[in-house]
């Protein structure tokens, strides 16, 4: 303790209590995420079983709640296989490249704190005022985008280093899919930054503490695009082409076994939780919600946050139970020809409105002109797509004919 106290870094501005609170938050976030992954896997299996009219895990613990723990222990004691043609270093590294970003991106999510009535969302821990999130960097949500890009490397390198064709195909699909949907994801998020005027997550949540939650600007089109693109980004059904069992055995993790496979599994579900938490933070006002009993006012924001996240998790499971997998060209069509233009158009419209407000233009003029320009652009895009498709069909016909005559 004396050594820490005499540290020149800590002596001036950063006190011991700051470090202690920071450490506490890190440990808490880590434990919270691990436990919730365990529960979410159980939750998904149970809900999807309900939707299939099955029973689901029911033997390990009450209602099978310890099933994930049992699976984890089993995987831990399985033989750890290393394929003969694998690139050993990269093969070992890849699971961590998936897992670590999944952990880190949760750090920027505020899970509690009162933002209403001009509150700044801080809570008091041991007389020290702090936000209920591990870190609140000024770049905020950009960190999430950066980390989710790193997660692509985990999937890509896992497939490439396995030295086997199915993982390779799976990882090629994965990187193409994740990169193309990241564009729509980023554009949907950009609209949020535009209307809240900040990148910091706590700032965005505070901006949504008013009665309208930015419902018109971000609550409809960017929200829907974000949820669809987020599902694709997570490689969850109906966008689970990455690990399409019927085509690719298991996708990028076909050659993985034992605890390394468990790490991928962990990362996948952790990403699911993080994506839900980010969606709640950006679009649904994070921990904001009515405080019903004043005596335990600190409980309500946390409760609201978890309820909102739970609603998202349920939706992801619901999507999985309902929708069949997309074909790969349909996936690309949806991403490039619909989601990216739509999110870009909406982003431009909101930007025009913001500039119009600054310059004192009339809103009644900006909206129709903006919509007109956007529909013109949509028409142009549609025409281009149609033209490209026609020429593709013609080319296919021609090649068929030439093959026939030969």
């Amino acid at each position: 303790m004396m050594i820490i106290a005499s540290d020149p870094l800590l002596s001036s501005e950063i006190g011991l209590s700051v470090v202690a609170v920071m450490l506490l938050k890190v440990v808490l976030a880590f434990a919270l995420l691990m436990v919730s992954v365990m529960l979410v896997i159980w939750f998904e299996r149970k809900v999807v079983a309900d939707m299939h009219n099955r029973v689901g895990p029911s033997l390990a613990g009450p209602w099978g709640i310890l099933q994930t723990l049992a699976d984890g222990i089993k995987l831990f004691f399985k033989e750890d296989l290393l394929p003969a043609r694998a690139d050993r270093v990269v093969f070992r590294l890849a699971p961590y490249l998936s897992l670590v970003p999944a952990f880190l991106s949760f750090a920027i999510v505020p899970i509690g704190g009162d933002f209403t009535n001009g509150g700044d969302g801080t809570v008091s821990i041991f007389g020290h005022r702090t936000l209920l999130q591990v870190a609140d960097p000024p770049v905020g949500v950009l960190l999430f985008l950066a980390l989710s890009s790193i997660a692509v490397y985990g999937v890509m390198l896992a497939g490439w280093s396995s030295g086997s064709k199915y993982p390779l195909l799976g990882s090629v699909r994965a990187s193409a899919q994740m990169i193309s949907y990241e564009a729509a994801l980023g554009l949907a998020m950009a609209t949020v930054f535009l209307s809240s005027g900040t990148l910091s997550t706590s700032g965005i949540v505070a901006g949504q503490a008013t009665w309208n939650w930015n419902l018109v600007a971000t609550g409809v089109i960017p929200f829907v695009i974000f949820v669809i693109a987020g599902t694709a980004e997570l490689n969850r059904p109906p966008f689970d082409l990455v690990e399409a069992e019927q085509e690719l055995v298991g996708g990028f993790h076909t050659e993985y076994s034992s605890i390394r496979f468990a790490l991928f599994f962990l990362a996948e579900f952790m990403n699911m939780i993080t994506m839900s938490a980010i969606a709640v933070t950006l679009f649904l006002g994070g921990p904001n919600g009515p405080i019903l009993i004043k005596q335990i006012s600190w409980v309500w924001p946390i409760l609201w946050f978890f309820l909102k996240v739970l609603a998202f998790l349920f939706t992801f499971v619901w999507l999985r139970a309902t929708l069949p997998r997309l074909r790969y060209d349909q996936l690309m069509d949806l991403g490039w020809k619909l989601l990216i233009p739509a999110s870009l158009g909406w982003f431009l419209l909101i930007a025009a409105l913001n500039i119009g407000e600054d310059r004192g233009w009339s809103t009644f003029l900006v909206v129709p002109i903006g919509l007109l320009v956007l529909s013109l652009a949509a028409l142009l895009l549609n025409g281009a797509i149609k033209k490209a498709r026609d020429s593709n069909i013609n080319a296919a016909d021609l090649s068929e004919i030439s093959e026939g005559t030969e």
Binding site: V47, M51, N53, R54, V55, S58, W318, A321, T322, L323
Partner: protein
Amino acid sequence: MSYLKGFLVTFRQIFQTRVTTPYPSKKREKPERLHGRHVLGRYEDGMEKCIGCELCSGVCPANCIYVRGADNPRDNPVSPGERYGFVYEINYLRCIHCDLCVEACPTGAITESKMFEFSFTNRNDAIYTKDELLVDSESGKPKQLPWEDWREGEDLLTSGWLRATSPNGDASYEGQIAWSGDLGYGIRKAEIGQSDSEPQEEGM
């Protein structure tokens, strides 16, 4: 909006009742004439019904029954006849539970119980000996061996069986008692033949 109908379909399933039976902890009721593990019966006085004729062995399509008959000892007969089953073995790795042995048996000695849940860890254990197949000499019920999963009611009336045509194999004997007495159960009522007007229960 019909696109969203699918979501309703899956959502509605949550509130529907489950049809799953948690199998090892709870078994569904078995059909009345299910073919399970064989038993060798005894008469009411404790005598074995098997007379060692080897008809079951001869008819067996899977060649899984091995029988050797021997002359009954005069002072202490095993069966009420000239000969008795000296060796009686069934290999359950071969048996297909077709029940042809049951139909072939002239004394109704071999029948099948409704219990099929048993397993072995080596090939020799799959061969049931006469000791294991014979019903208990006190109660007349099948022996419940440690590796078998007997449940309530599965050991009752295991000697019940029905020929393809009628209780006696002959339509003119329909409705007449065809059972010899069973240890523990006595002489039972005649079973209903297939030509009987009474409808069979559905949903077996």
